[in-house]
């Protein structure tokens, strides 16, 4: 059972990580508490649902649609929502309100279009493989596989490419980045696109796995935020590692306590960290920057 729980934990953790890394990417470089990340996630799930169920198109087409729409929403949020605020140099609270507003609009739009009732995309049980006592669905294998491709690519992007370095520079010291002449507008746009694509992928996986609801974004974005804090704000891989940890702890906790507390455990973990290790797992690696 432990092995099965670990595998399940890795799967949920991997999906959380997709969300968390996207959230961290945007949070680290803009300091926006990007709640609308949840809107992108939800929209992706519903796009998939609509294209598969409403238009009867094959899954790969639906996936393409879902990612495209996620990215478009991401761009809209950046260009219409955040950029004007940034250029007017308003407080971060204004960004949060704007982000929340976008989230609520998208959520209610989806309720208007599709109703509040949860929808399933795959009604038939997912195909599952048995390996010894271990059972893993095809979808979950795909999740792990995708993450094994996506995260190393992201690592390469940030470690090796100039864009990656520029994004790290922007996250590290936005003002300085502007002064040394980095094209911050384009960088912010690139970041949102990347973040939205990641949220889109997560939305697709969750939609295929357990279906979509208009409120699915809340949990997803809250877990992402928790992972960003646990994984040390400002350290991108930390968010991913912490998300994996949250997934594992949630699943393994079943060994000791009833499954009903899974949701509570996430926030319990957050509080533990806030009290005993407020800088997160990787806190030591991030010296606080002077003034």
């Amino acid at each position: 059972m432990v092995l099965q729980l670990i595998v399940n934990g890795v799967v949920s953790g991997a999906i959380y990580a997709l969300m968390a890394v996207g959230f961290a990417l945007i949070y680290n470089s803009t300091h926006i508490f990007h709640l609308a990340h949840g809107a992108v996630f939800t929209l992706s799930g519903y796009t998939l649902y609509f294209v598969v169920k409403g238009m009867n198109l094959p899954l790969p087409v639906a996936i393409l649609f879902a990612i495209t729409l996620s990215i478009l929403l991401g761009i809209a949020i950046e260009v219409r929502g955040y950029r004007p605020l940034r250029e007017r140099k308003v407080s971060l609270a204004a960004f949060l309100i704007s982000s929340l507003g976008i989230f609520i609009v998208v959520e209610n739009g989806l309720i208007l279009l599709f109703g509040a009732i949860p929808k399933l995309i795959t009604e038939e049980p997912l195909k599952a493989y048995q390996i010894g006592s271990l059972v893993i669905t095809q979808l979950h294998m795909t999740v792990i596989l995708c993450c094994l491709i996506i995260f190393p690519l992201l690592h390469l992007l940030f470690a090796k490419t100039r864009v990656g370095k520029m994004i790290r520079a922007l996250s590290d010291h936005p003002e300085l980045a502007l002064i040394i002449g980095l094209e911050t507008r384009r960088l912010y746009l690139f970041i949102t696109i990347l973040g939205a694509a990641l949220a889109g992928v997560a939305g697709i996986f969750v939609g295929l796995d357990v279906g979509v609801t208009p409120i699915m974004g809340w949990d997803a974005v809250l877990i992402a935020a928790v992972a960003v804090i646990i994984g040390s704000v400002g350290y991108l891989p930390g968010a991913g590692v912490a998300a994996l940890l949250v997934g594992l702890v949630q699943n393994l906790s079943v060994l000791k306590i009833s499954a009903q507390w899974q949701g509570t455990i996430t926030f319990g973990l957050l509080i533990l960290f806030l009290v005993f290790r407020p800088k997160g797992i990787f806190g030591k690696m991030i010296a606080s920057r002077g003034a």
Binding site: R162, R168, A169, D172, L176, L178, A287
Partner: protein
Amino acid sequence: MSGNRSVLVIQGLTKYFGGLKAVDNVYMEAAECSITSLIGPNGAGKTTIFNLITGLLQPTSGKIYYKNQSILALPPTTIARIGIGRTFQEPRVFNRLSVLENILIGFPSQKGERVHHALLRTKAAFEEEKKNKEKAIEILEFVGLADRGSDLAQDLSHGQQRFLSVARVLASNPDLLLMDEPTVGLHREEIVRLIDLMIRLVKSQRRTILLVEHNMDVVMNISDEIHLLVEGHGIAHGKPEDIKANPKLVEAFLGTSLSGNRKKGEVLCT
């Protein structure tokens, strides 16, 4: 040096913050290949002038010309690109980038910036990257940080971070360097090295420096021209000798005595 062209010309520069006149009708010039120093008590408006030149602030009135072109309407990014570099009162570096990356990032617009170049790692981008790396190492050698290239900037000492911030600015190959109190927090021998660095920047690299500095030893030693600023007004300017000839003036406003000496006749830039 009076024969030299002026790289920077400031005329009637004024900046109000609400009712506060932080900079009030200031005139000054910085001649090519020279070190021009701005001195004055805290709150005199020195940093504000730097912010106005680099486009971080818009003046209430006045004009700023760089190489005979007005740069008033230009955004900070463009001002940086056309050759005005700046270091800050506190060393500003990208903490979580390596020392080498700090320099690389400062190189002006590159092929690697294009997403597809970055993702596909085209040959052109690859070659450019290699060239940049060589240049970056050269700059690090120039400021004396060559052996720290792969360390994270946050792991450097305060003094090393200052040298790194100078190096970072050099990456954009500026003709005009604005340096805001670069000796703050440096040890004696680091100050000596910094002076040497500044002299090399002007002398062998033919750059122009506009310096804000409190250490009068440094100022008197290396300046070609000094402007004294008090409460936003330029109240005196001249060569170090001129300022030294009127020590009361400096003492009255700065509360420091002048003991700096620079070998007479030494020319920084020929």
